[in-house]
């Protein structure tokens, strides 16, 4: 399962694309995996996940074909 990172998330991971060997079943599982592997995420003001170009809740189920993006705190404008 491939995950895409933007902004500070890219720097925490060290690259823009991340391949997960262990597929998380839902958004919450994914967040837990990310926090365990990259403690830098604990320092962020918020951490949201987008699935197929929309914000997804913790219980949102994930499929291998989904486009999954890590959304650190936004700062447009």
């Amino acid at each position: 399962m491939k995950v895409i990172a933007f902004g500070i998330a890219k720097e925490i991971i060290g690259q823009q694309y991340l391949n997960l060997e262990e597929q998380p079943s839902n958004v919450l599982e994914l967040k837990k995996q990310l926090l365990a592997r990259y403690p830098g995420f604990l320092e962020l003001a918020s951490l949201r996940i987008a699935v197929n170009e929309a914000y997804a809740e913790d219980d949102h189920l994930l499929n291998t074909t989904d486009e999954i993006v890590i959304i650190p705190p936004v700062s447009g404008g």
Partner: protein, 142 residues
């Protein structure tokens, strides 16, 4: 009303307040409000050299569209325009322009403020401030 319209843009070209204002022109609208957000030369007591914006573009465009739709539902406005720029921006350059029009001014003022407030909270755009001697992703940490 079927002739209401929304115009969204997200790219690397410089923004134009006049272009955005023209897009909300309507003979039925006596009020036009244009908000422009420019790059500031400081944050707190640190001197900003420039900003660098990046975005998850396809989703950002969808969220910008959604926010403008909400504004059109909430207020009696006719048109809403939301343009945001990406890439490296120097001090004084415009990062965002929002334009709204309505028969009377009050709705446009309120809707315009709503759009910029929501954009700052919801749209997946990130800005990095580059200072003398450092850089920082804005709002990333509490």
């Amino acid at each position: 009303m079927e002739d209401k319209h929304i115009h969204i843009s997200l790219g690397f070209e410089p923004l134009s307040t006049e272009e955005c204002r023209t897009l909300v022109q309507d003979p039925a609208c006596g009020g036009q409000v244009v908000f422009a957000g420019a790059v500031r030369n400081h944050t707190g007591d640190r001197k900003v050299l420039y900003l660098d914006f990046e975005s998850y573009v396809p989703m950002a465009k969808k969220v910008m569209q959604e926010i403008c739709s909400q504004a059109i539902e909430k207020w009696p406005i006719r048109h809403a325009v939301c343009h945001h720029r990406l890439g490296k921006l120097e001090i004084g350059e415009l990062a965002v322009v929002i334009a709204v029009s309505s028969p009377h001014r009050k709705a446009s003022f309120e809707a315009c403020e709503f759009i910029i407030d929501e954009l700052k909270k919801e749209v997946p755009i990130w800005k990095k401030e580059v200072f003398e001697g450092g850089e920082e992703w804005v709002s990333a940490r509490p």
